[in-house]
Each structure stands twice: as C-alpha cells, then as structure tokens.
Symmetry: C2
Subunit: 457 residues, 2 copies
Amino acid sequence: MQEVEKLLEQAEEMVKNRSFKELKTLLCDLQPQDIAALLSDMDREPAAALFRLLPKDQAAEVLVELDSDQQAALIGAFTDKELAPILDEMFLDDMADLVEEMPAGLVKKILKNTDPESRKTVNDLLKYPKDSAGTLMTPEFVDLKKNMTVRECFDRIRATGPDKETVYTCYVTDEHRRILGVVSVKDLLLASQDKPVSEIMETNVITVRTTDDKEEIAHDFDKYDFLALPVIDGEDRLVGIVTFDDAMDVLQEENTEDFEKMAAITPSEKGYFEVGVFTHAKNRILWLLVLMVSATLTGNILTRYETAFAAIPVLVAMIPMLMDTGGNCGSQASTMVIRGLALGDMKPRDFFRVWFKEIRIALVVGAALAVINFGRVLLFYSGQDQVKPYLLAAITSLTLFLVVLVAKSLGTALPMLAKRVGLDPAIMASPLITTVVDACSVLLFFSIACAVLGLTI
Amino acid sequence: MQEVEKLLEQAEEMVKNRSFKELKTLLCDLQPQDIAALLSDMDREPAAALFRLLPKDQAAEVLVELDSDQQAALIGAFTDKELAPILDEMFLDDMADLVEEMPAGLVKKILKNTDPESRKTVNDLLKYPKDSAGTLMTPEFVDLKKNMTVRECFDRIRATGPDKETVYTCYVTDEHRRILGVVSVKDLLLASQDKPVSEIMETNVITVRTTDDKEEIAHDFDKYDFLALPVIDGEDRLVGIVTFDDAMDVLQEENTEDFEKMAAITPSEKGYFEVGVFTHAKNRILWLLVLMVSATLTGNILTRYETAFAAIPVLVAMIPMLMDTGGNCGSQASTMVIRGLALGDMKPRDFFRVWFKEIRIALVVGAALAVINFGRVLLFYSGQDQVKPYLLAAITSLTLFLVVLVAKSLGTALPMLAKRVGLDPAIMASPLITTVVDACSVLLFFSIACAVLGLTI
C-alpha cells in the first residue's frame, strides 16, 4: 500500500512538470480509485489533460469514481467524439447513476453519445423506485440455457463476457427469462466439458426482487458471502444482478446513515465536503429544535422544585452528574439494541430477553455507580452545611441507581418499539433518550430529596 | 428471501416430527448460514442429530457459522471418526479461527483429527499478531508459474481448485514464492489458450503484509472492490490471500466497535447474547465512572453560583436545555469527523478546512436556535416575576449561541486531535464531549447572567 502512496507522489510531480508521456505509463499501474483521488486534488484544466491520457476503459472506471462536480466538469469539457467511446466502456448501472447525478444539459449530452439500446436500458434503470434493488443492479450478466454443455457455456462466457461486470456467477434461464439454476465458473471449470449444465447447476436459487430495499440486499450479501445475487421482476423474469462491491458500498452508506441519525443529524447521501454550510445546518437543526423544545419539560419540572433548591442550593450541583450518567446509560443500551437490530442479531420478538438482560446489567452497573458516587459526594461535598453529607450522598446514590434502571429500560424499549411500528430504530438513540431520561432523573431526584429532607414544594 | 423463511419453518416442523429423511433433502436447499440459525434455536441432542444428516462439506461450512458454545457442544459430541472428515473439508483459516475459540481439551481433539500438514499450517496461522492480516488470510490460493500457457493455467486450476477458497484470482510466482503478477480467471477465459500467462498477467500487484492491520485491509477492499488481496511475509513471499467476504466481516465488526465506543462502551468481539451480564456491566462501567467523576466539575461550577440561583431560581430551569443542546451540537460535529476519519474521507491535515466549515455551520445553527429559544422563553417563562422575561430570554439565547460555537469547535477538534496522537477518534464522541460542553455551558450561562443581572457570587 505504501507503493501506491509513492506512485501517487510521482504522478503529482509529473503533472507539475507536465511530463505527460511518463505520466501515461505510470497511470497504467494505478487503480481507478487512486487516479480519481489524484484528479480531485488538481485544477480543472490539468485534470482534463490527465484524464485524456487514460485508455478508454480506464477512463470510464475513473469517471465513475469522481465526485459529481468533477464528473460534470469533465463531461462538459469533452467533445462528443471523446465522450462516446468512454461511455461505451461504462457499465450500464454506473451510467444510470451518472445520469441521475448530472444536470439536465449534460444528461442530454450523455444520452446523445450512447447507443440506442444502452440508452433504453439506462432509462429503464432510472425508473426503479429510490433505494430499490432495481437502482443497484446491472442488467449485464451471463445467461446460459439448460441444454448447453459445459464447453458451450464457456463459449458463451467468452463471447459475452467482456462487457459483463462479473462472469463468475452465471444464470441458466428458460425461454421466458425465468431462472432455472445458477452455476459458478468454479463449478464449470471442475466439471467435465461434455456435461450438460443442467446437471451441475444449483436449482435452489436465492433471488431478490427489483422492488426490494437495497439495505436488505446488502445484509444478504453480508450474511451469505455471495459474489452476486440475481434480481427478478414482478413476473419472475431475471432482469439483472447485484454484485458484492455495490452491496459493500450500500452497507457502508447505511452505517454512515445510522451514525448520523444516532447523532440527531438528518442523513445526507453526499460527502461532507460536497455539501454546503446551509445544507449541513439544515440537516442538523431539525432534531436540535425538537430536542430543545422537549428540554422545556425538564426545565418545568425544575421550576416546580424552586423552593427546595432555593433552600438547599447544593442539590442543583448534583443535577449534571445525574443527567449525564442517565443519558450515557440510556445510550449504551439503545446503541446495543439499534446495532443488534441493524445486524439482524436481535429481532423485535427478542424484546423481553433483551430487556431482562439489560435490567440485570442495570442492577450491577447501578449498584456499582451508587457505591462510588456515595464516596464521591462524601469527598467533594463535606464542606457545605446545607445538608448532612451522608444524607446528600444517600439521596444522590439512590436516585442514580433508579435512573440507571430507567435509562436502560428506555434505551431498550424505545428502539424496539420503533422497529415494531416501522420506524427506524436509529432515531431512538442518545439525543432523544437523553432528553427523556433527563426529565426522569430530575423528577426522581427532587421527589426523593423532598421526601427524605422533609421539604415542601 | 421469503422462500428461505418458508423452508426454515418446514425444517423446524420436520425436526419436531423427527422426519429426518425429508429433512435431509430439504437441508440441501439451504445455505450454511440458515442451517446454523436453525441449529441455534434447537436443543443440543436434536441439533447433533440434524448436524449428522449433513454432507461433510456442508457440515464444515455450517460448523464455521455457529457460536463458539455450539461449536464446542457439537465437537465434544462427535467421535473421532465423525470429526476427521468434517475437518478435512474445512478451509484452514476457518480451522484456525475455530481452534482459537475452543477450550484446550477440544483443541487437542481437533488437531488429533487433522492431517499433519494442515495442523502445521493452522499452528503457523495462530502465531500471527492479533488483528493482523495473517489472522485473516487463508493459505489456500492458486499459484501459477510464468512460463505456463493459459491452457496449463486452467489445468492447474482444475487440479488444485477444489480446495481453494477462491480460484478467480490467481497469482504468478517465481521459485522464491515472490509475486510476479496476478491474473483473473476472466482474463484467462478471454485470452487465447496458447498464450503464456506472463503476457496477460497484471504485473503491478497491490499486496499487503502479514503484519498489516486487518481494518486497513478491509478499507482497501471497500475502496478498490477487489475479490482477493495477496498477503506477503517479511521476505516478500506470498503466504496467503484475504478474500472479500472476510473483509466485509471485518468492516462490519469495525463499525460495531465504533458504535460501541461512541456510546462509551468498551467493545466486545462476541455477540450480545453470547456475553454474560457481568461482562456487559464491566464493559459499560469504566467510561460511566470516568464521566461521572468528570461531571463533578460541572457540579462545582454550579456550587460557585449558589447565591445567584438561590436569588433567581428560574435560572436553574434553563440548565437542562443548554446542556442538552450543547451536547447534541457537539456530538453532531464529532460524529461527522469520526465517521469521516474512519472512511478516509477526512484526514487530520484537513483540520482547518473542517473546523472553518463547522464554525460557519455553528453560526447558522446557533443563530436559528437562539431566535427560536428567545420565543420559547417568552412563551413559557412570562409568568414568573424573578427576572424580566425578555432579559431571561436574551441571556439564554446569547449563551446558547456561544455554546453551539464551543460545542462544534470541540466536536471537531477532539477527534482530530485523538487521531493525530494515535488514539481512536471514536472515544471522542457524544459522552465525553457532552461532559466537557456541560461545564462550558454552565460557566458561560452564569457568567453572562451575573454580568447582565448584576448578581454577585
């Protein structure tokens, strides 16, 4: 991997010195993703010059890896004669993604330079609902017929393979394009040449539908370690395949989305640097507002106990610790549940099993924290004369113990409940749970304090 | 996918009715992962009975997918005669993982039933440092020689392929086992049969070392969409390959670890249900303690302002909102940075670029929140007579604006700083940032309140 870094530095040097001939040789040794990274750091004009050095197939791969702004700049700079052969090398699912991202003028330019058949396929791909398998699949796969021998299968793979995203998983279909079986190139290689493919194909084929959610499909890849999955339409016809690399991207996108949701951010599909300040602000402000207004509740509870803490102000000093610890305990539980649900390790039907476990964890954690807090209060608050230190310690520790129980319960219940009613469990994370637990902590603390210390509100 | 659910239900039914003959046929149609899930829900005895129905190669795949407790139960129940052929079908990297998980008695049983050569390889694999490429790789790959023709390459693949985890990426090595090039089966299929492989192989091969961190390797897969990556030792000899499915698992594990760290949980490699209550408690308590004791600081700041809020108790009612909003703003920024660093979209050298962006976002978000908070305070706190409502609103809104700025700054800076000094940025997430921001919020609020309202402390 350090080699790559070195090659990239050399390439940057060559760009500076405009030694394009050397650069051309060097570029052949680089992966499309690395060339894309190189282009991202360059100005528009030298970037276009470098891009023109690439062989057409490599150019197509690099173009796919770029940000949409850079794609638009390059496509805008190309003549039709330059653009057409690059588009010709591009896989159709990638072209559909490209068309979706580009402004209308460039879409026209792209489609004009695409052959009619590909244009039709790209248009079909663009019609599938957002986030469905249809938008993720490529219609370019190897299909075989059941009466073919292994030798004929290889002939077909050789004839049609160059344009396919993968040749390693081939599908045997009937005249209505329905799947009869699946066969891997490994199985074909290990079988005798004259065997009919129908004898070696696997007939129990796991398929997905064009309308299936792409996240579910990504999880299937994660679970089953497939190289590719066949996609069928409403009439069970094989219309495309999804490959593992696209599934891996979906998995990572989904994880990023969960991280964002769990931090009270409305997820964005674009990269951090691609999005402007106002869009970032917009994505963050909605939840902040909801939570800010909700925090009014905790404020109101505090207002009810004004006379209590006006008489014994040191009580107020306990609030941050109780609120923070409650929030942290709640988000620990909710994170475990949200992640468990996302990975499929937990199901909503496991609710009571998880809840019972969390309650037991809460008993252990709560007891340990209560004991240590007792010492902490004695240590830091023995100097004040508003309330006996051991009483203050006892009130705080009892509250803490109960808060941990409440927080773990809510942290388990809310994401599970969200899943059950069809919401994304990830929204029931730290920020929301913290707000709810805050109100509980304050209420518990002052109820206990007033009862123990005989305060009236 | 619904088909799978149906098959699993049928299988459960057959287990109940002990109709093992039908079950045997049905099992052939299921993926190893699904059979493993089926076994997990069964008692020990029928599980072992079902497992014995499986053909040896499928049995090996299923065994790999089970929890370590279940693996131990099954291996313990097997006779040597039953165990040996299953182990014989197992990939050596999987066997190494299995040996690592099993108690000493069973390890002995496993190694006794393994042929001497495999035993040696497994022992070698177990010597690699934790979380290194060495622990992730399989030593079973197809190696070719440079003077082979395409036809001879296929002969070699056919001869050695059945035992290999993947045959689709083959490596051309010299007599010292150093890599000369890489060739895919697709390229071999599309080339003419008499061409020497040296003419079609790619000579610029991206390799990783046995000692490389497995997370970095997972990111290489995510970036480059490779099927497999070759692993070389300290003397540049090819010793194994890592395949995409293992990389995908590492990626998911790493994401889970980040989720856990960001929720103040010490990550565990085992599943939620596999870990006992006390271990869960232990994994959660460390950070809770650290943060609880840190919250003493915020408590102490509050104690300094006792006279202020004893005189105007309504000030206390503003604290939860300020603390929560500050914490949320900080964790939004830190999540963006932690995720950006994890995916490689941000580098520590981007610090000022990110920080400047976050400051601008904070200005927009802070201003919007301040305006709305002004209205909120007027709406909810006009009834009290301790302080003029518009003054209370102004003090809170000004504090809020400043808190948002501080929170976004800290949320950006702390993870970046952690990365720079070699710590995991994920620990600088919501819980820690909340604790730091809390202290700032309270200090800012009372400083401003005392100044504006002319209170002395």
